[in-house]
Amino acid sequence: MLVVERMRPLLGTFVTIRAQADASLTHEQREAAIGKAFRAIERVERLMSFHRSDSDIGRLNRAQPGSSLRVRRWTHVVLREALRLNEVSGGAFDCNVGGALVRAGLLPRLRANLARRGLPMRKAIALASGGRVTLKHRVSLDLGGIAKGFAVDQAVRVLRDHGVQGGLVNAGGDLRVFGPSPQAVWVRCPSAPDKQHLIGHLRNGAVATSASYFMPDAGRDGVIASAIVHPAHGRRLPLVGSVSVVAKSCMQADALTKIAALRRRVPTVLRQRTQARVIEL
């Protein structure tokens, strides 16, 4: 079994891809598979970045209430999952919190007059057929809490489609392992992120973690807090430890860390659907 590992700066962080394949794949085929997996992640960044005004999300954030925009299929998929999680979590998971993150200095201010508290995303937007999104109110969507996980899932799908038998995609801590053998999974110690705890062995699943230890020392609001915004009052959640979620897909794991951090638990219906486990350090 040959193992190749590559790292590139994407999604504002470091993305590692490890591909294990036997001799049925040539060197060129393996490199091509890794290259295509990175391109899938680049595509997610292009479509869903808050920073780019020409991304699907950038266009939605500039659009007037009442308008209906067509977005790419991947964006539609992520928005659909985000809306479903918003509903099932009783509003704990909400992507319409871009305004609060801009005020905290964690996202760039791309337009004036941002509401501190956006409406719950399920009240602000609706999905229609044909890849359309209808805006009922102005929005400030940030898919930072879910799109990284989706990107990891897409990269894993590309690797498998190209004959890679096992490996890992890790986007700055949101990771998914695949292949026949269980892999050790480590989580950084919140009090000393240069140390890691072994939390278990995972086969064909994902882990994501939310924590504050790599946050800028203090936001513009003077608070050392996480990048998770409490949708009820628009303030950021202080997070001393770390919350990790193991789930089937990385999109689920990524999003569920926000719900677990805010609610201290994952709603039963979600836990059953995603096989989620919460690990707090």
């Binding site: 700066p9 962080t13 992120p193 890691q196 072994l198 690990i279």
Partner: protein
């Protein structure tokens, strides 16, 4: 999905450096970014004025690696440079297309650092003589670390500086040589 939690006590903990890995040698990075191309090392140096201008415009304080510039026969440039961030030291390669756009960025070596280790000679010494053939590895699971997202801003600044070097000094030199 199959999850087997590790419940033995005490918890297994590995210590600094959190993550140190060699991904590509210079030759490997060249072949990954410019497959099949012939590259020629380009003698290159910046003038003091250019160095000052770079520092001012990009905010990167480490000197640019003037010994890491290659010209690609089919057009374009391959550059190896280094950045030191708050938590990381990175050697990376940038492929630049003939038109000055970024073709690809690949990380060649990545080391997480937390201040104290960098000043510790014993810690630094463990990397001496390491290459892609003898990767720096704590164990094989080193990439399987979940945690908060580490920003790649320093690297982004580094890539911006590489592009500024291209604009300021290389574009002309290559244009004149053609």
């Amino acid at each position: 999905m199959r999850w087997e939690p590790f419940i033995a006590a005490p918890l297994v903990v590995i210590t600094a450096p959190a993550w140190a890995s060699v991904y590509l040698s210079v030759e490997q990075a060249q072949q990954v970014i410019f497959p099949g191309e012939t590259l020629r090392k380009l003698p290159f140096s910046l003038t003091p004025a250019q160095r000052d201008a770079l520092r001012e415009h990009t905010g990167v304080h480490e000197p640019f690696n003037e010994d890491g510039v290659w010209q690609v026969a089919g057009g374009g440039v391959f550059i190896v440079d280094r950045v030191v961030g708050k938590h990381e030291q990175i050697t990376y390669a940038v492929g630049i297309n003939r038109d000055g756009t970024v073709k690809q960025v690949e990380i060649m070596e990545y080391r997480e650092t937390y201040g104290s280790e960098v000043r510790n000679p014993a810690w630094r010494k463990q990397f001496v003589g390491k290459s892609a053939a003898s990767p720096v590895r704590l164990n094989q699971d080193i990439a399987n670390i979940s945690g908060a997202t580490l920003s790649s801003k320093h690297l982004t600044d580094g890539v911006r500086r590489v592009l500024a070097v291209f604009d300021m000094a290389l574009k002309e030199q290559l244009g004149a040589g053609r």
